[in-house]
Symmetry: C2
Subunit: 403 residues, 2 copies
Amino acid sequence: MFLPNLKSLKDALKCIEDNQKVLGTEKIFLKDAHKRVLAEKIVSSHDFPPFDKSTRDGFAINSKDTLDISESNPKSFKIIDFIGAGFFSGKTLSNYEAIEISTEAPIPSGADAIIMKEDVSVNGDEVKLFSKVSSDDFIYKKGKDIKKREIILQKNTLIDFQEIGLIASAGYNEVEVYKKPKIKLFVTGSELVQPSKTLEKAKIMNSNQFTISSLIKNSGAIVEVEHIKDDFDSLVDSINQATKEFDAIITTGGTAISKKDLIFDVVNSIGKVLFRGVDIRPGKLFVCGIVNDTMVFNFSGSPVAAITQYDIFARKYIFKMEGVDFYLNFVERELLFDFSSKLGVVDFSRFIADDDYVIKMVKHSSDATSSLIDANYMFIDKNIEKCKKGDLVKVLFFNSMTW
Amino acid sequence: MFLPNLKSLKDALKCIEDNQKVLGTEKIFLKDAHKRVLAEKIVSSHDFPPFDKSTRDGFAINSKDTLDISESNPKSFKIIDFIGAGFFSGKTLSNYEAIEISTEAPIPSGADAIIMKEDVSVNGDEVKLFSKVSSDDFIYKKGKDIKKREIILQKNTLIDFQEIGLIASAGYNEVEVYKKPKIKLFVTGSELVQPSKTLEKAKIMNSNQFTISSLIKNSGAIVEVEHIKDDFDSLVDSINQATKEFDAIITTGGTAISKKDLIFDVVNSIGKVLFRGVDIRPGKLFVCGIVNDTMVFNFSGSPVAAITQYDIFARKYIFKMEGVDFYLNFVERELLFDFSSKLGVVDFSRFIADDDYVIKMVKHSSDATSSLIDANYMFIDKNIEKCKKGDLVKVLFFNSMTW
């Protein structure tokens, strides 16, 4: 019997986890840190804001001077200075004095409130107020957003637009980040040819190199693709060489037992096969091994099986190499039809799902790349044979897996 | 009164739409097309698969020869050839003949079914079958996935991992895509300095250059950042020059009325201001203009206001420049607390929301960059003053807006 000892999904994931490698770190400029992963915690060098500042264009005054002001009892203040954003005033307010101030500028000494430009009238160096103001009006207090020495981001945080702004505010012009994983993708298969408008008999357009390299890019890693011949000796040379230059190797094709499928034998001869075959569908024919301390994932040649193998096994490994924990983020949806699964196999079939329901199946062949457009995974565990209309099932949205 | 004529959100979006520019196209290699946008429809050059092919390693046979085979009545077939993936056989099966075949290889003449390797026993050039098979077993029929001349992807589709595989299968080694928008980001404000562990009095760390440029990258565009002084003449020169080299211009700061805020005046003097001020919060102080036929978005200096302005106005414009329609994808969530909004203002405040609920507010100052971590927008329309616990409200998830 072929593949008598299929590894369970859980054991396969554990086995990969036990062989996880985490990359080193490097210091880069913050401007280059978008979508990189922090390898240090971020501690604020400053209070933020660093001083009490105005949140409006207007006039800095002392609220005590305004206690008896009303529409019918306005009062004039003498304008003694102007503070633009980025500047400060050396002056201190005395009674019934005001300093004109811009948004973002620091509150001058003696002032405790801002009145907005549109609420006053100005005549020469006098400003007339028609209402009283309260202490702290339109003042954003020093340290309100972030306190000096506060830890504002933890190590292993992915840096997107929100985080990069915070890191800047904390005073970092450079950050320590994990190196980007470099992945070698070997596409095997004598039947595969480059996309072309003409096609020789028995040949198939090579789509795996494009889908899998896009998935690798979506995981924040760098990919180099090479199409190699199904020849034992050249496979040995190519894989050995790649272990010296890359952080992990992915191959597609060559996982089945046949005269022309050799990758298992190659890994077995120059390294250690961790397991061969997993109890999932599609993607059963998945081989995982270590060559020269480098992880080698052998995906199926069938496009959808290869994508599923990437989603379940390789993405988690690649994320973790660059410091990020990744989990398959299942959500529950109600099934709108009956569905039969195969006992003993964890099913990751493709279905159309929305915010509430799993609506319908897509074409099921693992060759059907077109089955992936608008589809998502439905997860049926291996002890489940039938799902009925109305059941809650687990769904994995493709877009929950992008970097 | 300052800004007497706030543009309504709807009118502001319409005004930007009326001035939408769409970029030209270019032909690139498919390997470089990840996350680009199709500027042509994709028509398959071939049936896919291009021939009836085997989906298993095994033996191609004629199912009629197996009608009376059973466990107790096995039958031997003569193996007359082997077909590896990428090859084909010139031979035609006669009665009780079999051809060994690999997954992906084309079905030979005279065969109509595959029996899996693990279900037979082989002895020299004889293969013994123990069960009957049905016509089409383990055969994936020509054109089942895609038919020749079928339109498989429409123009204006974003190319991710699923699409790129389909385009390859359709026979395209090059594709026509929209050019990537080149955006110039001018950050203004004398108060802004580069991130550093020390900070001069009245100065503020420049975080906008990092947040806004990350948002631009998340929209698939190219960004070049420049910090410019708040000086009328140099602003005129810089903006004029940028209109020659970039597809759109974004500035931050300089939208309020103050002695040091000049961008409105600059756009007004060398181009046309489309509108100044929108009835949203945060982000009211948004100026939009055209200079030398190039869109200029003037964002607030306050980080959160600037991000909100990007999310609501600029992202849609940038997506559309490269061929993609973008809509704010609101979902409904139940509110877990009472909330007061301001009449006459469309509220885009930041809240923590999950799959079911809006759970709590975050800090509300538009300076509080930290309020963006884990937050999402809650949308409260301008005719709503109070939302109560239990109400369904509209939520906009940040992660629904990435490229």
